[in-house]
């Protein structure tokens, strides 16, 4: 039994809590949130022990691992405290507000020898996992271009202000939305090394950007385009697509469908010359509890299994999430 505590029971925190609550290998020992309404609900119905002070919760409940799902600006201080207490940490994305803070936490996690993971769930979606496998196989030949796109209907009218509309708290399309596709590109291809040009565009918001357009160069010299807009109401929900072009083939993939074009036959087992289409149905591994998509359970299970020593701690580590923070910093500086 892994003893787990949660800090922050907002949208992602509640979702993690539900998944943890259904995991037979997990005992949720405590939940910490500032909302009395949420705490009372979780205590009344789920019989969770709820706190408003996370240090008190840690002292009293002695968890093995902690999920951190508070606004990004609080990540650094809270995660540092958890690492100092030698606890395994799952943090929501993005990792930290500055690359310097992130670097310090990576070193501390390494020093303490704890499992560390950040909630970039796209890497647990079947289609994107297959994209990574194909890229790593070399079947696309020499990769020379990519396009990463993400569109959705988050801000479609002038907003009232919340922490998401404050860039110093982790708000804005770049940190909150573009982070997902940037992380996916980095994880699939290579870290971003140079930003050749960037536009951060406000459409409805006054203090943050609603769209991010950028030309990126990766550490392997591959160049590509990032296009993200969270004010596009022609999308029902967030929709992320990556396109990767190589000398021997091309991939276009979103969360539901993977299209692969190969110049040669026998380039990859299970794939023919020309276009191949696979969909999420055949690329999804079953989970034991499903809340709005397998990937959310898969990433939590992966973390719990890493804590239990059953799988290596290699997907979505602090280090990998730091590359995304770093790219975000480069894009923001370039756009100034």
């Amino acid at each position: 039994m892994i003893k787990v505590a949660l800090i922050g029971a907002g949208k992602m925190g509640i979702s993690h809590l539900s998944i943890l609550g259904a995991n037979p290998n997990v005992e949720v020992v405590g939940v910490c949130d500032t909302s009395k309404m949420v705490n009372d609900f979780l205590n009344r119905y789920g019989k969770f022990s709820c706190f408003t002070d996370y240090q008190k919760m840690l002292d009293e409940t002695k968890p093995d691992a902690v999920f951190v799902a508070v606004p990004t600006k609080f990540h650094y201080a809270i995660i540092k405290e958890l690492l100092n207490r030698k606890l395994h940490v799952f943090a929501e994305k993005p990792f930290c507000l500055t690359s310097a803070q992130g670097k310090e936490l990576i070193d501390l996690a390494l020093h303490q020898g704890v499992v560390n993971q950040v909630g970039y769930h796209n890497k647990f979606i079947g289609t994107f996992k297959e994209v990574k496998r194909i890229v790593d196989s070399g079947a696309l030949g020499k990769i020379h271009h990519f396009v990463g796109e993400s569109y959705g209907p988050v801000v479609t009218k002038p907003q009232q202000s919340t922490w998401r509309s404050d860039p110093t708290e982790g708000g804005g399309c770049l940190l909150d939305y573009a982070a997902h596709v940037i992380d996916l590109l980095i994880g699939t291809l290579a870290p971003v090394s140079v930003v050749k040009g960037s536009v951060l565009d406000s459409i409805y918001s006054t203090s943050v950007e609603d769209a991010v357009y950028s030309l990126l160069e990766l550490s392997n010299k591959v160049k590509g385009v990032l296009s993200v807009n969270w004010s596009d109401e022609t999308y029902r929900k967030m929709s992320t697509t990556i396109t990767i072009l190589g000398t021997k083939g091309k991939i276009i993939s979103d969360a539901s469908e993977l299209k692969v074009f190969l110049k040669d036959s026998n380039a990859l087992p299970g794939y023919d010359k020309g276009w191949n289409v696979k969909n999420i149905t055949e690329l999804t591994e079953p989970v034991n509890f499903n809340l709005r998509g397998e990937e959310y359970t898969s990433q939590v299970d992966y973390f719990i299994n890493a804590v239990a020593g059953k799988v290596p701690n290699t997907i979505n580590t602090f280090q990998s999430a730091w590359y995304t923070d770093w790219a975000i910093e480069l894009i923001r500086n370039n756009a100034k």
Binding site: K36, Y45, E257, R292
Partner: protein, 290 residues
């Protein structure tokens, strides 16, 4: 419940295997008249139950149905609430408390959010009841004998062990709307345990049930065992595995399972509605003959 129930995903650009197809559907069903035309085609085939989410556009569809009482006298709607993305986008923007404040009608919260007063169970259940009433408004004077809770909410409450809220939903729709509660879930076996424990006998559960095992938590064997050995009124959804399974093969599988009272599917074209419907009846007939 009817053997075949018509779904609404195609009308609202929900396609589980292709974002491109979603866009094509969104263009095809831009006008309400296109939705009505497809519903009429389904009725012509013999499907008189429409299961739909409480999407904003359903307001107009309900107006059209109400305006032609003679034409739609045998027509039944199974509402599914809430339309999850409406709330999910609101939670992203306003947080949980802000969203509830926005969507719970009236001044219910005026005093509650100010003080440090403990929230009581009746408060949460009142919130649930007010939200149900708000979602049900659009169906006034329309026959809604079964009212469903959407899978995101059902499964969220299931994981949070808020079983009492699920049970309270069941009793509330019975009392207020004289309707049977239905529950949509990706976790049928676990949900059935919880509902039975809460005293609900033979519950209506709508779950992904398909040959590919897609969105069936625990896998086909676990689901088949529940269908064979337990008491429930199952509605099979996602029978085509999001389009990955051929309709004939898909229907042969679900029609061969015990305890499946209804099969839910959606389609955009008259030809697809007819052929899928005919497969169900052909395989049912085979079963009877055998």
């Amino acid at each position: 419940m009817e053997r075949v129930i018509f779904g609404d995903n195609q009308f609202f650009a929900v396609n589980h295997i292709s974002d491109e197809k979603s866009r094509a559907q969104s263009i095809k069903f831009k006008e309400d008249s296109a939705i009505i035309k497809t519903l009429d085609e389904a009725r012509a085939v013999g499907i008189n139950t429409f299961m739909c989410t409480t999407h904003d556009r359903i307001v107009n569809i309900c107006n059209i149905i109400r305006s032609q009482p003679e034409k739609y006298k045998d027509f039944t709607i199974y509402p599914c609430m809430p339309y999850a993305h409406k709330y999910a986008n609101a939670v992203t923007e306003l947080g949980i408390t802000g969203t509830i404040k926005q969507y719970v009608p009236g001044n219910f919260f005026g005093s509650m959010f100010k003080g440090g007063v403990a929230f009581l169970s009746k408060d949460y259940l009142s919130i649930m009841e007010l939200l149900v009433d708000a979602e049900m408004k659009m169906f006034k004077n329309i026959n809604t004998p079964v009212i469903f809770l959407q899978n995101v909410i059902t499964d969220l409450l299931l994981g949070l062990r808020a079983d009492e809220v699920l049970i309270a939903f069941y009793h509330y729709v019975k009392k207020k709307y004289n309707a049977e509660a239905g529950f949509i879930t990706m976790n049928m076996p676990k949900l059935l345990d919880v509902l039975e424990k809460g005293g609900i006998e033979n519950p209506i559960i709508c779950a992904s049930i398909n040959k590919a095992g897609f969105r069936m938590s625990g896998g086909n064997d676990v689901y088949e065992d529940v269908l064979k050995t337990r008491k429930l009124r199952a509605i099979a959804m996602q029978v085509l595995g999001g389009g990955a399974i051929h309709p004939k093969e898909a229907m042969e599988y679900v029609c061969g399972l015990p305890n499946i009272e209804s099969i839910l599917f959606g389609a955009s074209s008259k030809a697809n509605i007819e052929s899928t419907y005919n497969y169900v009846h052909a395989f049912d007939q085979q079963k009877i003959n055998a």
